[in-house]
Structures are given as C-alpha cells and as structure tokens.
C-alpha cells in the first residue's frame, strides 16, 4: 500500500536525519496524532531546525484548512454516531478516507457508520505502522553500521519531502481553479524569502519566512477573490 511506503520513508528520515533520541516513539506518537503525510515530513524539518512553534501552528492551519470543508459533507454521514466514535471519525479525516467515504453508496445508518469507522481505523493503522517501521529500520541501520555512515549514505534523501510537495502541487494544478492560487502562493513566498534573505541572510530568512508569507498570501487571495471566484467555470 502506497500509504505505508510514504510513512516508512518519513519514519526513516526522522530516525536518520531528525537528530531525535527516541525516533521510534516519536514517530509512532506523531503519526498517530497528526495522520497527515505532509505534516509527517515537515515534522522532521521542525525537530531538526527547532522551528518556532508559532510557525509550526500556522503551517498546520494552512495545510489542513481544507479538512474543515470535508467535515461539512461528512456531517450527514456521521450523524447518530456515539461521541467517542465521532471523535475518532473526525480525527481520522484525510484526503483518502474522505474520498472513500464519499464514494460509499450504503444508505445512512449503522452499516455506513461501521464502514466509515473500519476505513478510518485501517488507514490510521497502516499509516502509523509505516512510520514506526521506518523509524525502527532507520534506528537499526544506525546501530548496526554507524550513525555517521548511515547519514552520509542517505544524504539527500530528504529531497523526498520536496518531491512530495511537488507531486501534491502537480495534482492540484490539474484543476484549473487551483492554478492561480498556487502561482500566488509560490510568488508571494519567493518574494518574502528573497526580501528577508537580503536583510537577515538565507538561514534566518527560511526559518522566519512562513508567517509573513502566509499573511501576504491570505491578503492577496482576499484581494483577488472576485477574479479567482470568477474563473471558477
């Protein structure tokens, strides 16, 4: 399953390049709580650079904002579920489970809720297992050989995160309506980074660029709202 493979890579990355003492534990905890591919890769970057917690939260907000729209179309389906089941169903909303749940043709009611729960639990399980196994493999490799050797042998593997975002971006840009927002996001982020790098140097500019970038992106998206909504058809 592609799900577990992506998780495995993120877990291995955390163990080898994250500089964390208990990568298996933190891999399991973070994947269990976040249930998100992009965040799992960003997690490695966060712990490696100790990114400011404010920036972390702002990124999470933006990357996952779309999930609050998914919830809207799932309201009807989750109706009547117990509090605990509902809590878990909400926690497990992802692009994949959402797509499968919306495609399910069962009538609303008990069988549908059971189906949704099973789906969420299985996706969740595969994801956590993938990340944990990856972290375990990464740790084992380091203790069998040596951390330095594993690190130099796998240098550059962190490009997987960049590649993941490129893949998501390409898929999003298949839909015409997403192209202008993507261009605005990329252009605004580049402008903010270049301006900040000129003043503070590239390292600090990268660490501090996210909040100013998001603020300017949201402002631009609101300014161009009419044009962007007009191009919907």
């Amino acid at each position: 399953m592609g799900y577990s493979t992506m998780g495995f890579a993120a877990g291995a990355l955390l163990a080898v390049h994250g500089g964390v003492s208990w990568p298996v534990l933190w891999g399991a905890v973070s994947s269990g709580l976040f249930i998100s591919g992009p965040l799992q890769y960003l997690f490695v970057d966060w712990v490696k650079t100790s990114l400011a917690i404010g920036s972390v939260f702002v990124v999470v907000l933006c990357v996952n904002f779309r999930y609050c729209l998914y919830g809207l179309s799932l309201l009807e389906r989750f109706k009547g579920a117990g509090a605990l089941a509902k809590f878990y169903l909400i926690m497990g909303i992802t692009d994949e489970t959402y797509a499968l749940q919306m495609n399910c043709r069962l009538p609303p009611g008990r069988p549908l809720r059971t189906y949704c729960l099973m789906l969420t639990a299985l996706d969740h399980l595969y994801w956590v297992l993938g990340v944990t196994a990856g972290a375990l493999a990464g740790s084992l490799a380091q203790s069998v050989v040596s951390p330095e050797k594993v690190q130099s042998a796998t240098a550059g593997i962190d490009f997987a995160m960049t590649a993941l975002f490129i893949v998501i971006l390409v898929d999003q840009c298949r839909e015409r309506v997403n192209r202008m927002p993507a261009i605005i996001g990329g252009a605004a982020a580049s402008a903010v980074f270049i301006a900040m790098a000129a003043v503070f140097g590239p390292a600090r500019a990268r660490a501090d660029m996210l909040i100013p970038a998001i603020v300017s992106i949201v402002a631009l998206l609101l300014v161009f709202r009419r044009r962007l909504e007009g191009s919907r058809g």
Binding site: T5, M6, G19, V20, S21, W26, S30, L33, S36, P38, L42, F43, V47, I53, V56, F57, V60, L61, C62, V63, N64, F65, R66, Y67, C68, G71, L75, K86, I90, G156, F159, A160, M161, T162, A163, L164, F165, I166, V167, L169, V170, D171, N178, P181, A182, I184, G185, G186, A188, A189, F193, A197, P202, A203, R206, M209, A213, I217, R225, L228
Partner: protein
C-alpha cells in the same frame, strides 16, 4: 540533543490543532447550515497556495547548499524537481515520481 520538551509541545499542539480543524464544521454547523462564503472560498484556494509556499520553503533550504560546479543555481535540486513534476504529470504515480526524483537528487549531489 535534548528536544523532549519541544517534541511534546509539537506533538500535542499539532495533534490538538489538527483535530480542532477537522472538527470545526461539526462544532459550528452541527445542526444545519452552510459555511460563510468567505470560509468556503479560503478553504478552496488556501490549500494550493500553501503547498506552493512549502515548495518554495523546501527550495529556500537549498540556498546555502548551492556552490561552485554542478551545484550552482540549485542545479541538482532543479533537475530533480523537474523530473518529479514531469513524471507525476505523465504517469500519475506519486511513489514513482518521488522515488525517481529523490534518487536523481542523491546521485547528482554525489557527482557534483
């Protein structure tokens, strides 16, 4: 090396924030109703914009890695990125695209 406090903060904080975001419509529109138009709009356009920003953020990290020879102008990063995007456009298989892009990158930084 001791990052335990930071790790707990990130895991718990991001965990709670993620849940709240996913739960927002259930808490706000539990009975019936539609989201305000502005929320629907931002929800639709923010995701591609944020992902594009994260691509830039990734590349920003390569600025210091650029240097003489092959590494000038992020050549390895750019080539690997182009390969990833092209494969994804063509084959639509995320695993293949990511694996190929990362392998090319790892090879290029070794010969550069």
């Amino acid at each position: 090396m001791d990052k335990t406090g930071y790790l707990i903060l990130v895991c718990v904080g991001v965990g709670i924030l993620s849940w709240c975001l996913r739960a927002l419509p259930f808490l706000l529109f539990g009975r019936k109703g539609e989201p305000p138009k502005i929320v629907a709009y931002v929800g639709r356009v923010l995701s591609p914009a944020a992902i594009a920003m994260l691509v830039v953020y990734c590349y920003a990290g390569y600025v210091q890695a650029s240097g003489p020879g092959l590494r000038v102008f992020f050549l390895p990063e750019m080539l690997a990125g182009v390969l990833t995007a092209a494969l994804q456009l063509w084959r639509r298989n995320p695993l293949v695209s990511i694996l190929a892009g990362t392998t090319l990158y790892m090879t290029l930084i070794r010969i550069a």
